[in-house]
Amino acid sequence: MLDTELRTMIDEVKDGRMDRRGFVQRMLAFGLTAPMATQLLAIGGVAMAQSPAPYKPTKRGGGGPLKLLWWQGATLLNPHFATGTKDQDGSRLFYEPLASWDGDGNLNPILAAEIPSIKNGGLAADAKSVTWKIKPGVKWHDGKPLTADDLVFTWEYSNDPATAAVSKGVYGDIKVEKVDDLTVRVLFKAPTPFWANAFVGAYGCILPKHLFAEYKGAKSREAPNNLKPIGTGPYKFVEFKPGDVVRGEINMDYHMPNRPHFDTVEMKGGGDAVSAARAVIQTGEYDFAWNMQVEDEVLLRLEKGGKGKTSYAVGGDIEFIMINFTDPNTEVDGERSSMKTKHPILSDAKVRKALSLLVDREAVQKVIYGRAGRITANYLNGPAQYVSKNTSWEFSIEKANKLLDEAGWKLGADGVREKDGKKLKLVYQTSINGPRQKTQAIVKQACQKAGIDVELKSVVASVFFSSDVANPDTYSKFYADLEMFQIPMTQPDPALHMRRYLSKNVATKENKWQGQNFPRWVNKEFDAAIEQAEGEIDPIKRASLYIKANDIMWQDTMVIPVMHRLKVEATSNSLRPVLSGWSNETDNIQDWYREATG
């Protein structure tokens, strides 16, 4: 039903009988996210809205200094080497992609002359290629013109295995060819519904061929411009001290009119999140601070009578509890949590359901996340068009008790359930991080009331999240019954986010635990839905497939979603930043400005 209705609506937008905004709003009502809705339109043949940011300054410069505080400083300035968003954010001051995502999930052209669509001939009908037109007249900071050669080079650079570029995953499976000086065509091996990956967003930043040509592959680390970026961005490079400060000054030849507003930019790093919040919200020493991983009550206290406030961007990041489907306590062929075993307790769906009923998300939100979290039953929380409306969550110790009774776990004299002489005991691990330990405590308490003995385990984050094969405490080995962490959704397309749980991605000793399916969950129905979705060009069908995949996860309780997390930033009262949950904080920095009356 949704299918035909959507189709009619897209046609209405095409004919101009309905405006884009109306469409997106109705999509939201259907449970789809805004970026999904706009992608639906794009693939349905309607050009993307050139969402104009409400930018007020009428001349370039004059905004004084912009002072940014990142509590982890940028450690390098080549976006294709970036480890973590801090490096992408720092690089982004100087380098630019063809387009970036705005808060509604629309593509915003940066270096592109226009966003490709079926209408303008940019998107091929078979979804096997995209043609990008570059804005004419763009110059690198050293005065050389930006051309299609730079884009082709960036693809070659990243694609060379010896370069060891972190963007290899984005450029590895495509081909980029030059059509003319200002046009490139990106060719996909198979129909690719999510075409806006290469040259878009953080990994989409384009490198100047004339400065990097000699430093491709094995020589990549010797390039002098790794430390002195020369890009096309709104700010020109001045100074860089790894982990401490990145400084830039206004680019008077910037390719967008009246931009940028600030004369200089400084991104200072180091310290901790609380004092960063204090420096922006309370004392106003800085204009903007990144990623306020601070308890909401602290932020609320700082905001009282302060010089700044918190701002939020909604993306798809999810904090959840994973359930182990294999037995972490039995060793088979020198491997715990082996695929050859079955979890003695958790392979029973009733026990998993009971556990989900014992997670009091409302309390977790109230006590821990506050404004930074939204309660959800879904693993996939955005963009809107992919968000399932078929799921629900509940906190009920009573129902959990009933389910456990049904599953044959009898309450023992010590208040712990047992079955066949085995106690209902679970090990629940996570990384050391204030909110996580608090969540653990809330869950443990509820489990106790249902006769489940939960042993809490916390591992230092640097060990928990490491890929160290020798360490038994990593999240990928998952030698516990339950584990909790966050998976950030790095792009407004669910493909990467969802494909982790394909059966073929199970983390085992054989693949050195590189597979991302840590619960070692195998579900043919899920596999089929994902594989179908990845080749599906029809956006509506594709969305419904991802919703189906999400629902399968929910029905089978393979993960227990705890909190849909928002990005939290601190902003001075006069600053007008442009933020998006679908991109990096500095992705739209050219549109930031300061309100004159602040």
Binding site: L76, R221, P242, G271, R278, E285
Partner: protein, 319 residues
């Protein structure tokens, strides 16, 4: 004297080698992976991490990696940071001036407080001044720097709004206003660190002075009719300074360590914060280099202390 210094230097070489070996093995065996952030990112294919491991030689056995490090070090190559993808010596040199400025100022402040207060207190033991000085000293070194640092921030930055609490590498202005800016932003960290050091040093100077002041030769000097000031400064203090010099010299590396906390609180881009961020990101070449620098400092300051003994008290001969 020259021979003595040379001999001490030669002894330092094997001890530094031993230290470096231990550091290297501990780091190599420690859990953690410099490329873990890449591993958790679904956008980055596992082969990128593998290529980087191969490129940086992380898959070789420990002893080969150690020998390679040693050979490079002998040629003045401090290594290559995994995280910043730049040379470690550049990273350290960028941060050294700030560290020296802050730690040096703090140490001078500590001496300026400790020596006069300690000496004055020792000449009038159990007087009101002595008791006040003692109480303050006890409070001073009982409070950890992360506590006083936060207290200072709350008082001087948040409540009074006098001083900035984020240390900026790039102070605006030139000439006097630049100098003023530099001093202004260093006041809090230097006070926090300097007073902490000064407090324990005051106690030390006082007891060293008390020991010396009762010796016969001081009484003799007084009996000869020398003025009090002259007796204290020329006769007593010089000898009392020997244990104080030992303390200061041996504390220097510990001060670099103590500054790590202060650097973190005030976001001072010094060596300490470099060490912390490198440890957090498992950037082993940087950790190795910075800890090795600390080891060199220990050896170096020990040497200085030995040389100073001889100058302060010629009876300690260089044999």
């Amino acid at each position: 004297m020259g021979q003595y210094v040379l001999r001490r230097l030669l002894i330092a070489v094997p001890s530094l080698l031993g230290i470096s070996l231990v550091l290297f093995i501990v780091l190599a065996l420690a859990p953690g992976d410099p490329f873990s952030e890449l591993a958790t990112n679904p956008n980055v294919p596992p082969e990128v991490g593998a290529a980087l491991r191969a490129k940086f030689g992380l898959d070789d056995p420990i002893y080969i990696r150690y020998l390679r490090w040693l050979a490079a070090m002998a040629q003045g190559d401090w290594g290559f940071s995994f995280v910043s993808r730049m040379n470690v010596d550049t990273l350290i040199l960028q941060r050294l001036p700030t560290t020296l400025y802050v730690i040096g100022s703090a140490q001078i402040l500590a001496l300026l407080v400790a020596i006069p207060v300690g000496v004055f207190a020792a000449t009038r033991p159990y007087s009101i001044f002595d008791q006040i000085a003692n109480t303050l000293a006890f409070i001073g070194f009982s409070l950890p720097t992360f506590f006083t640092g936060l207290l200072f921030i709350l008082i001087f930055s948040v409540t009074l709004d006098w001083l900035p609490f984020v240390y900026s590498t790039d102070v605006k202005g030139t000439g006097i206003s630049w100098l003023f800016g530099q001093i202004r932003q260093a006041i809090m960290p230097v006070m926090v660190l300097g007073l902490f050091q000064g407090a324990s040093m005051t106690r030390f100077v006082r007891s060293a002075m008390l020991d010396v002041i009762r010796l016969d030769y001081v009484t003799t000097a007084r009996a000869k009719g020398l003025g009090q000031a002259r007796v204290i400064v020329k006769h007593a203090m010089r000898n009392a300074m020997i244990p104080v010099v030992t303390l200061i010299a041996l504390q220097m590396p510990a001060i670099f360590g103590g500054a790590i906390v202060t650097e973190q609180i005030f976001r001072i881009p010094g060596i300490g914060s470099l060490l912390i961020s490198s440890i957090l990101s498992n950037d082993t070449p940087v950790i190795m280099a910075v800890t090795f620098v600390f080891a060199c400092l220990v050896v170096f300051f020990n040497l200085i202390a030995d040389v100073l003994y001889g100058w302060l008290d010629p009876r300690i001969s260089f044999r």
